[in-house]
Amino acid sequence: MPVSAEEIQPLLSYSNKSIDQLPAVEIISLWKTFGDLQALKEINVLFQSGEMVGLIGTSGSGKSTLLRHISGLIASDARSECQIKVWGQVVQSGGQICSDVRKIRAEIGFIFQQFNLVERMSLLKNVLVGRLAKIPGYRSLFHLFTRSEKMEAMQALDRVGLASHASQRAGTLSGGQQQRAAIARTLQQQAKIILADEPIASLDPASARLVMETLGELNQQDGITVVVSLHQISFAIRFCPRIVALKSGEIVFDGSSEDLSVEQLGWIYDSDSEVDFEAIRPKLEER
């Protein structure tokens, strides 16, 4: 189910294209250098509205750096051709983050590997934070939320199965519960894009599956565009129809996860010992 025209109307005022022509995320010639290190090299990629994309690659290949650029948390190199757009609206261009970036961020739910939540605040308050960008400043300053906002936050928590923990401090929850709460926050944000940076890296397999299932459900039922970086290739193949692989800052594979062969994976990961290819082979062949 694609996003309706009304929902992204405010963003559309920046563009004269129609919605069908608008990709959710458009990255044009993105370069990023940290000191001597070329972290991203001429990345060109489109994420269409409603897609669920798995971002894979070895540690240090640039997955986090790419995701953080999309939400304007870091700026690209100052090359005039570098540009990132979300729903057609410029997030950053030529290394300059657009001054309206907060409006765009409000549409993007960002989930980190861990430590997404403020541990000393209740789960409910952590979820309500998702609405900050859309409420007047005086209310947010004094932590004043309306009943309906609180009700929506409860519904978001219920959606990820955590309604009964609403008043608990975030720090007292398990890692998997915290990640699902972070997903609830993106729901409260009414985000139409979710960027998740290794959301399951610190979780046990059962919690990891639950988190991935929640993301998959939001993608399929709500039409939310999901871009998720993953270390566990088997999860990427199982949950993401499209895979984008990075190697040393370059995109070396972009296509259907069904087209990804064990040989390609071996090359992407330099036959890295951290990946158990033989364990994946049966999963690949099973398809």
Binding site: S71, L73, V101, R102, K103, I104, R105, A106, E107, I108, G109, F110, F112, Q114, F115, N116, L117, V118, E119, R120, M121, K125, V129, G130, L132, A133, G137, S140, L141, H143, A182, R185, Q189
Partner: protein, 270 residues
């Protein structure tokens, strides 16, 4: 067998010698310390003998504590309450100032062109003793408790700003970035991401400063800035040992009770 093995190993092992440099620097440090102490004897008029010579005066003072004169206790009580009121307001004003100034002093959230000058200003406030501020404010607003409030709050502002900013600099930055990623404004990053993380430390530091301010408030009265210190100074100047003793006892009891209560409360937050 065992002994031969031990012999072998003790032949191979060697206790490391203390390097000559370490020995020399210890020696130099000791000589310097002794020299400084000797140099300061004259200026500080270190004459332990006087303690013995004047033992009569001291005994007289001490005897005051055997029969403290609580005749004017309603006055003492009233002035002690004023002392606490001075401490409450001095601390409150300091906290109100230390919240913004502490945030401005934190290098992880403010640019250095802001942190550096404000930090120097806070260092300055901290380096001036409350008594000195009290005398300055008496000149400005006249004798009385308000001068004491201002004096305490300025000195405490310097201390709390530093403590508050150290707490802010020690926070976990990731939840704050999580809030930023939702499109929140910088002020919201502070109120939702930073304040909840630092609030237990801030409360604890504020209580700690309140304890210190009760102690300071009971002496700044000596220069005329209100509170029980004024009575104390009067009693001392008129050589009224019994009254002096009574006032000191009131101060000691109230300060100890408050210290105890506040340190109990502080423990709840750490």
């Amino acid at each position: 067998m065992l002994t031969s093995a031990e012999n072998n190993s003790s032949a191979r092992l060697e206790v490391p010698k203390t390097p000559l440099g370490t020995i020399l620097s210890c020696f130099v440090a000791t000589v310097l310390l002794v020299a400084i102490l000797l140099f300061s004897i004259e200026g500080a008029e270190i004459r332990f003998g006087d303690l013995w010579k004047n033992r009569g005066n001291m005994l007289e003072y001490g005897s005051g504590f055997l029969k403290p004169d609580f005749l004017d206790w309603p006055d003492y009580l009233q002035e002690m309450i004023i002392t606490l009121q001075i401490a409450v307001w001095g601390t409150f004003l300091a906290i109100m100032g230390a919240i913004p100034f502490g945030l401005i002093c934190s290098s992880n959230i403010s640019p250095s062109w802001m942190t550096q000058p404000v930090r120097r200003l806070m260092d300055l406030l901290r380096s001036v003793n409350e008594m000195v501020f009290a005398m300055l404010f008496i000149a400005a607003v006249g004798l009385g408790p308000f001068a004491g409030v201002l004096a305490l709050s300025l000195h405490t502002l310097g201390t709390l700003s530093k403590l508050f900013s150290e707490a802010v600099e020690a926070i976990d930055p990731q939840p704050v970035e999580g809030i930023r990623a939702t499109g929140a404004m910088p002020i919201e990053e502070i109120t939702y991401g930073i304040i909840p993380q630092v609030i237990p430390l801030w409360i604890s530091y504020s209580l700690y400063r309140f304890e210190a301010n009760v102690r300071s408030a009971s002496v700044i009265g000596m220069v005329g800035a209100g509170g029980i210190g004024m009575l104390l100074w009067d009693a001392i100047r008129s050589f009224n040992y019994a009254k002096t003793a009574a006032i000191v006892l009131v101060i000691v009891v109230v300060v100890s009770v408050l210290d105890f209560a506040s340190s109990r409360i502080r423990r709840l937050y750490i």
